[in-house]
């Protein structure tokens, strides 16, 4: 699905390595690109996503900021207006609350309120998601909050190759992008990453598994970020039972690949949507509304939703019961496949 891949060479990378590799490549390609945030320079980021950037590009372009998320997001607005390409990092998405007024009220609105005077080529990177026993506020899935803010693009890679292709696209995009990286996938997700130019366009979903012709599948699962991997595992569990599952990774929530959603629903008629966020008002709800708008009469069963619960993200001893796992997803797929 890449727009261009002039080098056929690939290397197996973790998602973290792919992100680091891409930041190096984009900073080398465009000297306006700047990386800044808490502990990103000398320490190379708390997960090493920005490792080596300081040595390669120097302290004017790779900057350890004071511990203050609002000023990280807010200065990105000014830097963009000054002609730079800011790629700030929020150490964990849960701490974007401290920057919410800047991201929601300013970053997202700069183009609109200046009637297009300024491009806003800001890519805010932030890890998120559960399953790794972090302290409070390190795991919450906040994509729906941000997807409700016009002006932001919401990008969530679910493979190392996509982390590269989507991050490169984000950095070159003239609009602000929230680039959300699954903590649990950082080292667990490993795949072949093209070493040369590799751009994945926004708004094009990826079929992770499924028949050549979607009509041959029994159920389609829509997911994003680490829930793609969980849905894939659920689908593998069900293969033995003869249930053929199509797993579609939406990749970007804004913009949304409505065409692929419609095509899959029309062909298959049975749908499960999976998200890690709490159930109420999550992006799954938006997806189901979109399915109603686009393909309601193709549905053969109610659209099922697998979510976190409407409770704050819990402590370590409870989190495995909170985050959807392959078993819970498989149960929903089974019910949906069998529903009259």
């Amino acid at each position: 699905m890449s727009l261009a891949s002039d080098a056929a060479a690939t290397r197996t990378m973790t998602m973290l390595e792919a992100i680091n590799h891409t930041l190096h490549a984009e900073m080398a390609r465009d000297d306006r690109v700047m990386v800044f945030g808490e502990d990103v320079a000398a320490n190379g980021g708390v997960f090493r996503a920005t490792e080596g950037l300081l040595d390669a590009f120097g302290e004017d372009r790779v900057v350890d900021t004071p511990l203050a998320e609002a000023v990280i997001a807010g200065t990105a607005v000014g830097l963009a207006a000054a002609g730079m390409v800011p790629v700030p990092e929020i150490q964990f998405l849960g701490f974007s609350y401290q920057a919410f007024h800047q991201i929601a009220g300013q970053v997202a609105r700069l183009r609109y309120r200046t009637r297009g005077r300024f491009d806003v080529p800001i890519t805010i990177r932030a890890p998120f998601g559960g399953g790794v026993r972090t302290p409070e506020l390190h795991s919450e899935s906040l994509e729906a909050q941000y997807a409700n803010i016009p002006g932001l693009k919401i990008v969530l890679p679910a493979s190392a190759a996509d982390a590269k292709g989507l991050l490169a696209t984000a950095i070159r995009d003239p609009d602000p992008v929230l680039f959300l990286e699954p903590l649990r996938g950082y080292r667990m997700l490993r795949d072949e990453v093209p070493l040369g130019e590799h751009l994945v366009p926004f708004g094009e979903a990826r079929t992770v598994m499924g028949a050549d012709d979607p009509a041959d599948d029994d159920v389609v699962v829509f997911a994003w970020s680490f829930m793609v991997e969980m849905s894939r595992r659920a689908a593998e569990l069900l293969a033995d039972e003869g249930i053929r599952v199509r797993v579609v990774d939406l990749r970007t929530l804004v913009p949304l690949d409505v065409d692929t959603i419609r095509t899959c629903v029309e062909a298959i008629g049975r749908v499960v949507v999976v998200q890690e966020a709490p159930e109420t008002n999550g992006f799954a709800s938006e997806l189901i509304a979109t399915i109603n708008d686009e393909a309601f009469y193709s549905l053969e069963a109610p659209v099922a939703r697998v979510s976190g619960y409407d409770a704050p993200y819990p402590v370590g001893q409870l989190e495995d019961s909170y985050v959807p796992d392959a078993g819970r997803i498989a149960a929903a797929i089974r019910r949906t496949a069998g529903a009259a």
């Binding site: 320490n43 409070e136 409770a311």
Partner: protein, 347 residues
């Protein structure tokens, strides 16, 4: 405890001299807190606990603070590194901190009447809370004050400035303690501020600010007792900067050898607060090596019991639905019922 009596015209107070008993109690607390912290750190290494932040370097600050406050009247709002050093406020503080580290939901619940809040992960958010609590106590004419901890790095957050500014306007009975340990993960203080020190920031709020040697428990005690006497006399907030050095990694997840200069750390170790206090009390004839041995053994035994109790405390998975609201909303009750049904009625 004895509350300092006189408040001078400019807030200058007379601090009662510390009794031998208090001095010994302070060193006992310091040694114990390091043991507790080390044990919680080791639990993480054994896969039994989550990420946690060791206390090393902050022991004198904690001992000075807890001995200068009145646990029956005052509140402490910690950041996350301090919970091993507040035993004077009640044994619950450590027991619940152990649960917290074990990832148990009750780790966040420090029961009545212990006047300590659980760890705060979202940095500096606790400062507005402390000011509000102090404001409320003042509104209700309650005695006592509120002490809030935050790190040097956390002073860069807007919440710190907004809260200190408002505390000044309110004359709130609050003590804001900046634990300046030189680092915020890998970021040194020189990258947080161009100010000469953190106490200087008090000028912008129009409140008193002092910098004390945070490796000297007695100096910390005096500064906090002074600030407390002003707070409870209605003279408003104080910013107290305690200067020390982070002697360990940021947390169990950190590798400080990547960024902490070795010579700087070695110099800081010379001023290890426990070494400083031990030699001071030995000099005064109040402490011997045998006392250290007894204290360490007692702390280990205390921790054995806390960990044993903590690991024995079962968690019912359905507890994840508890305390979201005072009463479950119908929707949450429904999710909870489905959760139980999916598990065949047992969680």
């Amino acid at each position: 405890m004895a509350v300092p009596a006189a408040v001078g015209q400019h807030g200058v107070v007379t601090i009662p001299s510390l009794s031998d008993e208090t001095l010994r109690s302070m060193l006992t607390a310091m040694l114990s807190s390091r043991v507790y912290s080390q044990r919680v750190f080791n639990l993480q290494r054994q896969g039994r606990a989550g990420t946690n932040a060791p206390v090393d370097g902050s022991e004198a600050i904690l001992a000075g603070v807890e001995h200068a406050l009145d646990p029956s009247e005052d509140w402490v709002l910690p950041q996350y590194r301090e919970l091993v050093g507040l035993e004077r406020f009640g044994t619950d503080v450590l027991d619940r901190y152990v649960l917290y580290a074990l990832g148990h939901p009750e780790g966040g619940h420090i029961p009545e009447p212990t006047r300590v809040w659980p760890p705060q992960i979202s940095l500096a958010t606790q400062v507005p809370h402390a000011v509000g609590l102090a404001w409320g106590m003042k509104a209700r004419s309650e005695p006592g004050c509120v002490l809030v901890f935050l790190g040097d790095g956390s002073t860069s957050e807007g919440d710190f400035y907004e809260a200190c500014n408002f505390a000044g306007v309110l004359d709130a009975p609050v003590i804001v303690v900046v634990v300046n340990n030189g680092w915020a993960i890998s970021t040194p203080i020189a990258r947080q501020t161009r100010a000469k020190n953190f106490a200087e920031k008090s000028h912008a709020f129009g409140i008193p600010g002092v910098t004390v040697d945070g490796t000297d428990a007695i100096a910390v005690y005096e500064a906090i007792a002074d600030a407390r006497s002003r707070a409870v006399a209605g003279a408003g907030p104080t910013l107290v900067e305690c200067v020390t050095y982070r002697l360990g990694p940021h947390t169990t997840a950190d590798d400080p050898t990547r960024y902490v200069p070795g010579d700087e750390l070695a110099a800081a170790r010379e001023r290890d607060p426990i070494v400083v206090m031990t030699s001071e009390l030995e000099r005064r004839g109040l402490w011997t090596a045998a006392d250290t041995e007894t204290t360490l053994a007692a702390a280990d035994a205390r921790m054995d019991a806390a960990v044993r109790a903590g690991e024995a405390m079962a968690v019912d998975q359905v507890e994840l639905f508890d305390h979201v609201y005072a009463e479950h909303t119908p929707r949450l009750a429904d999710q909870r019922a489905r959760f139980l049904a999916d598990r065949g009625g047992v969680s």
